[in-house]
Structures are given as structure tokens and as C-alpha cells.
Symmetry: C2
Subunit: 208 residues, 2 copies
């Protein structure tokens, strides 16, 4: 087989990305060779170098396909909670783990980012995507928290930056541990319990 049709080409490209996602999330990035990816996709290495410049470009394209949950959080959350900032914040953070719980692609990609990819200079563009998504998430949460303070849901003495660090760390930690062993606990229940308890603590400190 040579020169398949344009639609076929797109199909093989997608299969290459699928294979990369599977292998990287299963064996690790550095531990997976281009040859393994090609074989898993049913082609040779030549096909990869036709569609992608190199390994990093392959990874980058693979990431490009999925919207990281931190990104998706912002647009997805309903607007009708705007008069209840604290509930909005809770809903948005929960949306992150809900997306992760339901979408296998997100699971694979986040597994790669958290556990199957060394954080080194070579792979910096990969992690930039991760960091950028998290930073916008942090900024967004900070804004919502300030609204919560303005509306009296939290005391004026509350430190939004400090609170956001705690809440994002909580979600990150839950995701980190759940990806290590998804059978160990239910991520939705864990996130709800953690968020609700933490928010309850914030509100108690309001009245204190």
C-alpha cells in the first residue's frame, strides 16, 4: 500500500495519535520508542516522520487533541450560579474531576502528565500546556473567591490566594492519587467530600 486517499491519511494520523496516547500512558514517554508507536498503529516509522516532525511534535499533537480539564472548566460551568460565587467555585472544580472521571482520553493524557513524563527541559513545551491551564484555573478561582468576599460569603479577612492554593492542591492531590489507582476510591465522591468539608471550614471561619 502506498499513497492512500486523503481521508485514509487522516485516519492513520489519528491512529498514530491513539497509539501514542495508549503507549505513553501505559509505558511512559521516554520508555516508548517511535517504532513501538508505529507498530501499534500498524505502520512503520516512516509514517510518523511524515506526519510529525519528531517525538516531541507527536506528543504535542497528542495533547492538542484534548482540552485539559482545567481549560474546559472555565467555559463549561453554567452562568446561572453567578450570584452564588462559592457554589460556582465548587461546581467548576467538580467539573474538572467529572470530566476526568468520564473521559478516557483525559485520563490517559493526565496520566502521562502526572506519572508518565519526566519534567525536564526537553519536554518543557508539554508541561507548559499543563501549567498554563492550571494558572488560568487559579486566576479564575481567585476572581470568583473575591466575588465571594464581596458578597459576604467569606470574611473580608480571607486571603483568596491562600485559599486557592489549598483548593487547587486538594484537587491536584486527588487527581494525582486517583490516577495512581482508580479502583482505590471514587474520585467524584472524594472530590465532593473534600470540597464540601473545606468550604464548610471556610464558612465556619467566617462566623469566627
Amino acid at each position: 500500500m502506498v499513497r492512500r486517499t486523503k481521508a485514509d491519511a487522516l485516519a492513520t494520523k489519528a491512529e498514530l495519535l491513539d497509539a501514542a496516547e495508549r503507549l505513553f500512558s501505559a509505558q511512559g514517554v521516554a520508555n516508548t520508542s517511535m517504532m513501538q508507536v508505529a507498530e501499534a498503529a500498524g505502520v512503520t516509522r516512516g509514517a510518523i516522520y511524515h506526519h510529525f516532525e519528531n517525538k516531541l511534535d507527536l506528543i504535542d499533537s497528542m495533547m492538542e487533541r484534548v482540552r485539559l480539564p482545567f481549560d474546559q472548566m472555565i467555559e463549561q460551568t453554567s452562568q446561572r450560579l453567578v450570584d452564588n460565587p462559592l457554589a460556582l467555585l465548587r461546581a467548576r472544580l467538580l467539573n474538572i474531576v467529572q470530566l476526568l472521571d468520564r473521559d478516557p482520553h483525559t485520563q490517559s493524557v493526565l496520566t502521562i502528565l502526572f506519572h508518565k513524563c519526566e519534567y525536564v527541559d526537553d519536554t518543557l513545551p508539554i508541561h507548559f500546556r499543563h501549567l498554563r491551564a492550571r494558572n488560568t484555573c487559579i486566576d479564575e478561582c481567585t476572581l470568583v473567591l473575591q466575588q465571594a468576599i464581596e458578597r459576604g460569603q467569606l470574611p473580608a479577612s480571607a486571603n483568596p490566594a491562600q485559599i486557592v492554593v489549598s483548593m487547587v492542591a486538594m484537587i491536584d492531590g486527588i487527581i494525582y492519587n486517583w490516577l495512581l489507582d482508580p479502583e482505590y476510591f471514587n474520585i467524584i465522591e472524594a472530590a465532593e467530600h473534600a470540597l464540601d468539608t473545606f468550604i464548610a471550614g471556610l464558612q465556619q471561619r467566617t462566623s469566627a
Copy 2:
């Protein structure tokens, strides 16, 4: 130089471990060759293979030197808080981040475990050490929480397993993010704030 004295041999072995710790935490494990480690320690690769079987043995020996904070937590915490389980739990979890904040070796090793080491079959023995430490930490915290319930600090309806997942995830997330950028926030303050707020939430739910 050939055949230095026995004391010198121990010194070079220590320098090899130091070099490995520095390079692995800076460049990643898979991205660092035995030659780089040897050069950084001022010897050749032959020296490494004399002291260690292979790369994995080198990493394992490097980990063996430090006690992971989750391990250290158990023995270190004072016993006089035994009549206040909740305070004991808080102290123990805080001890983890305090050790991390103060000890550079712990910082390097945890950086490797969290960010500079792919979680793959080849490096499984490495992560086993991490997981084992965390599991004993979880078990210990669960016990303390049950005591807190018995003493009425928490309602009988509280789910210790659920609470532990949240608290450990919180600490994990804080460590994870702090290691990414230690300048971004103060880890002690963040951990205290997160723990206190969460515990306050637990207690509020007690009275509810």
C-alpha cells in the same frame, strides 16, 4: 589515581550518590546517563559499576539514604498529644512538610519521585518505596481518626477512610505544587492553612 584507601572508597561512593541526587532531580532520571553521574562525581563509569550493579541499583541506594517524610512522620511526632487525636493528626501531617521544607535531600528525592521519574515497570521498585511510605501514613492517620471519633472529636457518622483520602491528597497536592515552584508560596503556611480550614470543616459537620 588507583586503589585509594577504604575510607576514600566510601567517600567516592557518597559523592556518586550525591551526584546522582543532584543530576536526577535536575535533569530527570531517564535523561541522565551513568557517564554524566560519573563525571559529576569526578570518576569514570567504571567506579559506578564497581559500587552499584546498575542504574536502578544506584537510584535505589540513593533513595535508601533518606527516610521519606511519610515514614518519618510516624516515629517523630510527640506522644503527649495522644489525648487529642485531631491535634496529633495535624501535627503529624505538618511534620511531613516541615521536614520537606528544611531538608534539601528530601526536597531532591521527592522532586525525583514526583516530577523527574516516569512511573513505569522498570522503576517500579523505586515507586514501591514511595507507595509503601504513603500507605503506612494512610493507615496511621486512619487509626488516629478512629480515635478522634471514639473521643467525640468527630461524629460517629464520619468516614475515616474518606477523610484520610482528602487530607493526604491535600498534603500531596501541596507538595506536588510546591516542588514545581518553591518560590510561589510558603509550604508551611499553605499546609497549616489547608489543614486548619479542613479540620474546621470536619468539626462544623460534627455539630451539624
